[in-house]
Amino acid sequence: MNQNQTADLLKRSMPFQTVPGEMLEAIAKLARYESYARGDVIYHQGDFADDVFIVSSGAVQHTLGIGFQATHPEKIVRSGGVFGWAAVLDNQRTRMAKTVCMERTELIRINGEELINFFKATPETGDIVMSRFATMINKEYTMPEEVAGHVPHFTQVPVTVATGLSLTMFRLSQWLKSPKPYLMMTGFGILLATWYLAVEVWKLPRFADMPGLTTVMKEWFSKDPVYGLSIWTPEYYQHIWVSVRRILIAFFLATVLGVPLGLFLGWSKTFREYVFPVFETLRPIPILAWVPLAIIMFQGSETPVIFLTFLASFYATALNTMLGVETIDESYSRAAACLGASKWQVFREVIVPGAMPFMFTGLQISIGVAWFSLVAGEMVAGEYGLGYVINTSYTMVRYPTIVIGMITLGIVGYVSSALVRMAGDYMMQWRVRELALGGR
């Protein structure tokens, strides 16, 4: 079995369904392929639980040991099924069941410890996967709830969190307590030191024309900048404002149009069959390729830039919202329909809140790509803005100003992402609690 097949198999299994593609490939690298003959015992009750198993083909009989309460003590796991999740539990690393192959069986196994370590690096996805494990334990295996309590979780959120704001504050305090801020500062320190040394001390060959750290800082904070742009000049803020305004308009349009489109794409199969192929054909076209058409299509310098910025954001938002709708368990819509909800109510009250987590992932990606394409647009067609500053400073040989533009761009971009994230926390308090996990 090659890496792609393994990733496909992972994608079909319940816990990994929502894991993004490149992460699946990374997880696939942890997986080992094995095949068993009929009658082979994979493990006994009481064995040490090292690996989690996912069945590729065949059938495995899973018999819970004595002492574990369950309504279905026996079950058969087939292709796409997952068993042996004791390997990912905290403090519960013994097998609770015996597993025997009922026919020739092919499967992959992933070491629980390695998987958990992998998820420590990507806590957000880790928690989604683990909450799916917990759901599986509760639902399919009908095990006592306390076992689900052993499922580890990675982003640490107290259950008492009351509002989105306090969640944000909590994240901040957790972050300050973790080693992350110090690692981050070290990282920045190394970057700045390398820059300083390479340009101003060692004067490396290709770095001769580069503006040095001290030059840039002096220029940036100077009341009387040599090249006319610093934190004391009004033009600096005008450039920032123009870029921010473009982002605001484009992001607003992308959200207002992309979210409904994504919702409808996910919700209506017919609509999807009409629209999705077009969408998928246009999406891979790089934003830069749209520049000439944008200039031809729209008048002035403002609208083409906004259009380009809008475009990439729009794709990200719509696509992620659509995926969000697809991941909603159908049983929610059914329950709502049974309780008397109309089709439209199901859409409003189940599909929309259910898709919310993916939608906000989409919006975070969206704001990121918005900045990316904004700069591309401003370099070609702008009259103001940070991208324009960078481009004109290059043609007019004002090298320190280029770097000032770049740093400013980084800071403003980071702040805007953080704001989107805060909005998401605020609107999805239930989600926060779900990630807090395991019905605790």
């Binding site: 309460q69 309504t71 279905h72 309780l339 008397g340 909800a341 239930w430 779900e434 395991g438």
Partner: protein, 304 residues
């Protein structure tokens, strides 16, 4: 007229008691297959039974025999391949508010608080009336979740979630209530509490109820009538009237001779079905099962 009776009951006691219209469901020669041609799989075959008015009918059968499939047919989300299902003589063609179905996999909406989950049905039908809000409070109290009204489902324990699901179904006052393994996954203790609790609710209204389970004790404790399913393709193999007195209490039911006799009878049928699934179609194995059951039947008569 309907509003009138409701007012009366509200006057008669201060807790709003639901008014139940007795209904009956008849399943006639229903079959259901999935797939076509070579891949056709028959899940239910020529299945007939009645869910009687004002009774709690329990269906028990080995897992994978088609119980949940049958529930989807009763709910109207899927159509039978052959046969009909009628509610009070009217054919079921789609989901309707006369039946309330709690699916095996159904869950509370994680994005709503317990209270909002319970009020979802009335709100969805634009019946956010004072009476219904009162009923919601009453049910929250009844299922012991008043203190958890503002919590989100992931913050509740499994048992609490099940009780909230029951309350969410009950508030809609359906003519028939259909439940698919609603207490799956609970530990022994909370399961037994849920049985007493659920049969208490039934005794209060005598609403027509249909309850699917794989647990024999649960089935006998709850049932007025017990339907035993065959192995796949599913069919009702046997109907047993469980004429134990109500209200039922755990200690009492499991010491009762009649209850033990019913349990033995049900178990022997279930055992036969289980043996068949074990033999898995092999001729030799099924011959063995047949010979075995003949011998044990002979032994039984000899004993008597």
């Amino acid at each position: 007229m309907n509003a009138n009776t409701q007012n009366q009951s509200a006057v008669m006691s201060d807790t709003p008691k639901p008014v139940v219209k007795p209904s009956e469901i008849q399943v006639k020669n229903v079959s259901k297959s999935y797939g076509a041609g070579l891949f056709e799989k028959q899940v239910i075959k020529d299945c007939s039974f009645t869910i009687e008015r004002n009774k709690l009918t329990v269906m028990i059968g080995p897992s994978g025999c088609g119980k949940s499939t049958l529930i989807r047919l009763l709910a109207g989300f899927e159509k039978p391949t052959a046969g009909t299902i009628e509610l009070d003589g009217k054919r079921i063609t789609g989901p309707g508010r006369d039946r309330l179905v709690v699916f095996q996999e159904s869950a509370l909406f994680p994005w709503m608080t317990t209270h909002d989950n319970i009020m979802y049905g009335p709100k969805a039908r634009r019946e956010n009336t004072k009476q219904n809000r009162g009923l919601a409070e009453y049910l929250l109290e009844k299922v012991g979740l008043s203190a958890f009204r503002a919590k989100y489902p992931p913050q509740l324990s499994g048992g609490m979630q099940r009780r909230a699901e029951l309350a969410r179904a009950m508030i809609n006052n359906p003519d028939v209530m259909i439940l698919d393994e609603p207490f799956r996954g609970l530990d022994c203790m909370s399961k037994e509490l849920m049985w007493e609790y659920y049969s208490g609710l039934f005794e209060e209204s005598h609403r027509t109820n249909f309850f699917v389970t794989t647990d024999i004790d649960e089935a006998i404790f709850l049932a007025d009538r017990l339907l035993i399913m065959s192995n796949i393709p599913g069919q009702v193999r046997e109907t047993i009237e469980v004429d134990l007195p109500r209200p039922r209490r755990l200690a009492f039911v499991f010491d009762d001779d009649r209850a033990i006799a019913v349990k033995m009878e049900a178990l022997s049928i279930l055992h036969k079905e289980a043996m068949k699934s074990f033999s898995g179609g092999s001729k030799a194995a099924s011959d063995f099962v047949e010979a075995y059951s003949k011998r044990s039947a002979a032994a039984e008569t000899a004993e008597q």
